[in-house]
Amino acid sequence: MTAVLLFGLPVLFALGVPIAFGLGLATTFALLFGGSVPLIVVPQRVFTSLDSFPIMAVLLFMLAGSIMDEGGMARRIISFAGALLGQFRASLAMIAVGATMLISGVSGSGTADTAAVGSVMIPAMMKRGYEPRFVTAIQAAAGALGPIIPPSIIMVVLGSVTNTSIGQLFIGGIIPGIIIGGFLMIVCYVHARRGGAAYEATETFSWSRVWTTFWQAIPGLGMAILILGGILTGVFTATESAVMGVVYGFVIGLWVYRELRLSQIPRMLVEAACRSAIILIIIGTAGLFGWLVANLQIPTVVARFLQDHSANWIVFMILVNALLLLLGMFMESIAVIIILMPILYPVAQSFGIDLLHFGVVVSVNLSIGLVTPPYGATLFVACSIAKMSIREVTPALLPSIFVMIIAQALITFIPPLTTWLPRLFIP
């Protein structure tokens, strides 16, 4: 039964079965071979996994992201980022990274951020003569910031699976997000040095332009402040802050910016529901898979293995990071969290690792998994906007992935980078 469960999954994935159904199928096959458990657990576990209030933040943050995009906020934030960063070489790429960082403060999804910024910046960079592979790669990499800079769908799921504070995880992502954003801008700069005339700065810096664009972006940035502020002060839970963001965003889009029409809203609801359903179904079937994994006593075996083979917490963290980077290449991050975190959290605790630190490290690692081929959610989006194949873009991704792994090492071995800020706000 264990063998069917664990070897069935990679085979199903390799054949091209969608992640959501592969998890369900592997569990079903294992149950059929095992024989003793009634199959009624299949719908029962799917229901239980979806019947969760914290998970609802997925649906609502997804909608907040599309309101941001269609309500005119994303465009104004991109202009503001342009005023700040237009003076540098490779300015358009830096703007893409900077705008993704700002927009990540509203949306919790890397794919939504990649779509919002990429649909504007990828064509702009191509038109200016930037190397298409680089353009696609840098936008895909910047998309990883979506679930690192709060809010974050990955952290919502992690917090709800492990019963730890989602708010603390969110705030723990701020410093890692800034580090990775900065590193990606360095990648842009280095790439531009041998790039030629196309990469020259787009405009000279002017305070008046910064001020005008900032003023216009305020209502949009206010959405980020409302969401983050509500969580920072403990006024809202993650799900509640998401709903406040949605309502605020509708008000700004409909009556302040007046770019949203009431007739657009039904379509936006359906689209957000569908984009969330992809994740929610994975949450449902991963919950089923994870339940059987736990039932087969696999966690005890894995935990003992990890404890026996890790001399200390540093070795354990290296093992975990390597394992998650590898899984992130082939698996949906949400599924990895649901299946592995109930196993890894107790082991981390036994090594005396701060669980908040561990949670942020895992979230950032799995966000990098959104970028790494062959299975990378933000990579899919960036490639489809740029009309390029993942195979073409892969070599251009290496510098970005390299700097993200350096950032990952920094936050893994310097715990205050992830724990200092959240403990300051939410003790």
Binding site: L12, F13, A14, L15, G16, V17, P18, I19, A20, F21, G22, G24, L25, T28, L39, I40, V42, P43, Q44, V46, F47, L50, D51, S52, F53, I55, M56, L59, L60, L63, V235, F236, T239, E240, V243, M244, V246, V247, P266, L269, V270, A272, A273, C274, R275, S276, A277, I278, L280, I281, G284, F330, E332, P374, Y375, A377, F380
Partner: protein, 158 residues
């Protein structure tokens, strides 16, 4: 046939829109209720959770139609076109098999659910669990349609 399908999909969309709107209103009311009226409603969270289960399963059917559920497609592109068509048939066949199981077991679970009452709203759990067989049936329908498409692709000489 395709007309009926179009109507069905439109109906699914309308149900999703209505449920999502109620979900937003409910959670918003919960926050407002707690801070402005100092009286958090007891039923709001449960209602929102049940709506979420429904939305996830219904929207998932639309996702199958639009091929939005992602997987690793390296092998699909590595094999010759004919092998690719055969692989797609296999994938849709297996997904349909899982959904059929979810449908059958989802109907069975309704019996168990119908004797339970939800703690907050005190409604029959049948209404919440009904999302499973309904969602599974709609997903199965879309998946079988995809299976048909891939079978036609396999038979066609090109």
């Amino acid at each position: 046939m395709s007309h009926a399908l179009g109507l069905l999909r439109r109906a699914i969309q309308l149900v999703i829109i209505a449920m999502f709107a109620v979900l937003i209103a409910t959670v918003f009311y919960q926050v407002i209720g707690r801070y402005l009226f100092n009286a958090p409603p007891s039923w709001s969270e449960e209602l929102a959770r049940f709506l979420q289960v429904w939305i996830a399963l219904l929207a998932s059917a639309l996702c199958i139609q639009q091929s939005m559920h992602l997987g690793v497609d390296y092998l699909l592109y590595a094999v010759p076109p004919r092998g690719r068509a055969a692989l797609e048939v296999l994938v849709h066949l297996m997904v349909s098999g899982f959904l059929l199981l979810l449908l059958v077991q989802g109907i069975k679970i309704l019996d168990v659910a119908s004797v339970q009452t939800s703690p907050a709203m005190e409604i029959n759990m049948w209404y919440a669990y009904l999302a499973l067989p309904v969602g599974a049936a709609l997903m199965l329908l879309e998946s079988v349609l995809k299976l048909g498409e891939s079978l036609r692709a396999l038979r066609s000489p090109a």
